[in-house]
C-alpha cells in the first residue's frame, strides 16, 4: 500500500519534471559562458526572468529565459547581479532560450 503510494508519488514527480522541461523530446542543449549585461525581473513574486548574456567568445548577446526557483531567488536577493560571469546551458523552445543551468563561474 505504502509502496503503491510511493510509486504514484514518484510517477507524479516524473510527470512534473517532464512538464517542467516542457516536452517529451528534449531539444538540443546549447552551452555558453557569458557576462550578464541585464536582468529583467518583474518583482518579488516573479516566476520568470530574462537575463541578457554577452557571450565571452563571440561577444554576441543572448536573452535567456530563467524559470527555476533557485536562480530566480538569486536574482531577487542579488546574489547574482549584472556583471557576473555565468556558465549557462539552454534549449530553444517556442523561440525562447530557456535555461537548464545557470551558475556563476567564479567561486570564493
Amino acid at each position: 500500500m505504502k509502496r503503491a503510494a510511493a510509486v504514484l508519488l514518484a510517477a507524479a514527480r516524473v510527470l512534473l519534471v517532464v512538464l517542467a522541461i516542457g516536452g517529451v523530446a528534449r531539444a538540443e542543449e546549447i552551452k555558453m559562458v557569458g557576462v550578464i549585461t541585464k536582468i529583467d525581473i518583474s518583482g518579488p513574486d516573479a516566476k520568470v526572468a530574462t537575463a541578457t548574456l554577452k557571450d565571452t567568445k563571440s561577444e554576441k548577446t543572448v536573452d535567456i529565459t530563467v524559470k527555476d526557483d533557485l536562480t530566480l531567488d538569486k536574482f531577487k536577493d542579488h546574489r547574482i547581479v549584472e556583471g557576473d560571469e555565468i556558465r549557462c546551458k539552454y534549449e530553444v523552445k517556442d523561440g525562447k532560450n530557456v535555461s537548464n543551468y545557470f551558475r556563476k563561474t567564479a567561486g570564493c
Binding site: R3, A6, L70, D77, V81, E85, G107, C108
Partner: protein, 459 residues
Amino acid sequence: MKRAKTIGTALAALLYASGAPAAEHPGRAQIEKDGYKGPATCEECHPGTAKQFLGTVHWKHASKVDNVEHLDPKVEYGMKNRIYTMCNGNDVVNNLKEIPKNSAGHSKLTGCNTCHPGNHISDVGSTGPAAEAAVDCLVCHSSDYDFRQRKPYKDAQGRVVMGQDRSTKAALAVGKPGVKNCMVCHESAGGGVLIKRGLAFNKENDAHAAKGMVCVDCHKSKDHHVPTGFDPNNWANDGVRLACSDCHGDKPHKNADYNRHVAKIACQTCHIPHTGGAVAKDFTVWEQGEDKFWEPTTLKRDANETVPVYAWYNKTVRNEPHFIGPKGSRKDGKSKIYPFKIYMGKAFYDKETGKLLSMDFAPPMATGNARAGVESAARTLGMKDPAAVAKNAVPGWQTIYFASSHLVTKGKALNCVNCHGVNGVLNFRELGYSEAEVKKLTNPEIYFKQLVEMQKQEW
C-alpha cells in the same frame, strides 16, 4: 519509542515550519522603532550573543582537533591555517586583498576570508568589542538580505572591508536560518558553485530537502555551536556532533535485513549512492579565463554525477602530505564501511621537507604564475628564503577523501544485489574479506529469497 518520538517532534516542527508562515520575531517592533545598528541592537534582548559567537568555528575558522594524526594538540586548525589541495590557500596566506593587475589592466578584491561573517577589519579569530560589533548576524538570520552589500570594497583609509547589509529592512526579517542563509557560503566552498562537496540541497537531490527540511533542522545549534559529523576533511568543530541515528535510531527499517547491516555499514553507504563536485584540481597550472584572470585548472562534476569509494572508517584520520582520509579496518571493532568522494589535488611540495606548501592566490590569479603564489605564501609564513622555496618546489598529487553526508535518497538506496551481486559496488577483497567469504557474499543464496519476497510486496 524514543526514536519515534524524535522523528515525531522533528516532523511536527517541519509541518509547523513549512505550513504556517514563520512566526514573527518578537524583537520586530523595537527594531522597527529604533532601526538596526548591528549586533548591539540584537544584544539588547539577546545579551552576550556576539561575544559567544566569537568563540565558534564560524568566527575562528579553527578549533582544537583530536581525531587527526600528526597535529599539534595545542594548536587550533581549520580553514584559517590548513594546507591541503582542495583550497591550496587559506585565510592567512590568501587573505582578502586587492590582487595585482592582470594583462587587461584589471584588479579585484578577493581572498579566502570572504566566507567569514566579519567585516575583515575584524577578521577570522579576532576578539574584543570591535569584533563583537563587526559580526554579520543577518547573513545567517535574515530572509531579506541584499547581497549586493556583501561585497569587499576599499574604505577611505584604503583598507579592504567586507561589506554587510545592515539595513533595518533586513533586520526586520530575522528568524531561524534558512537553507539560503547557510548556502551563502556553503554553496560555493572550494572555488565555485558545488565544487567542494556537490552539496545540492534541493528536492531533486536530497530526500530531506524534498520533505521541506532545512539545514538547521539537523544542524540544530545551541550557543552557536553548530554540530558536525566526522568528515575526514572537516577538522574544525564546535565540539558537538550529529549523526543519522540521532533521529532515526539504529533500527530504522521495517526490514530486519537492512537493520542487521547497520552494525558494519554506515547509513550513508546505502543511502548516499552518488557524490559530486570537483574530482581534481591542478594548482600548479592555472588557466586564463575570458576576463583575463587565472584560475586553478579544475575538473568539475555536478551533484550526483560521480560514485563514491568505500572504506572502513573509525572516525580517526590519516594525515600525510600525499593523503588525507579515513583510518580503520574490518577488524578493529570500531569501523564501519562509509562512502567517500575521492578528490585529487596537484600542488607544490617543499623539496627539503616533502611537506605540502600553500599558496597565495593573488599572484597566479593576475599572471598565472603559480610559483609566485608559493613564494608569497612562504614569505607570509616566515619561511627561510621564500624565493628558493618556490623555485625548488616539487609538483605532486594529494589524494583526499571527503565524507558523503547529504544527497540522501530512499528510492535509489542500495539494495541487496547492488552489493552482493557479482558486479556489486563494494570491493569485498579490498575491504578485507577472504576468498571464501567473498564467494559467500556474492552468492545469490544471500539475497535471492529476500528480493523475490520484496518483489512480491511491490506489486
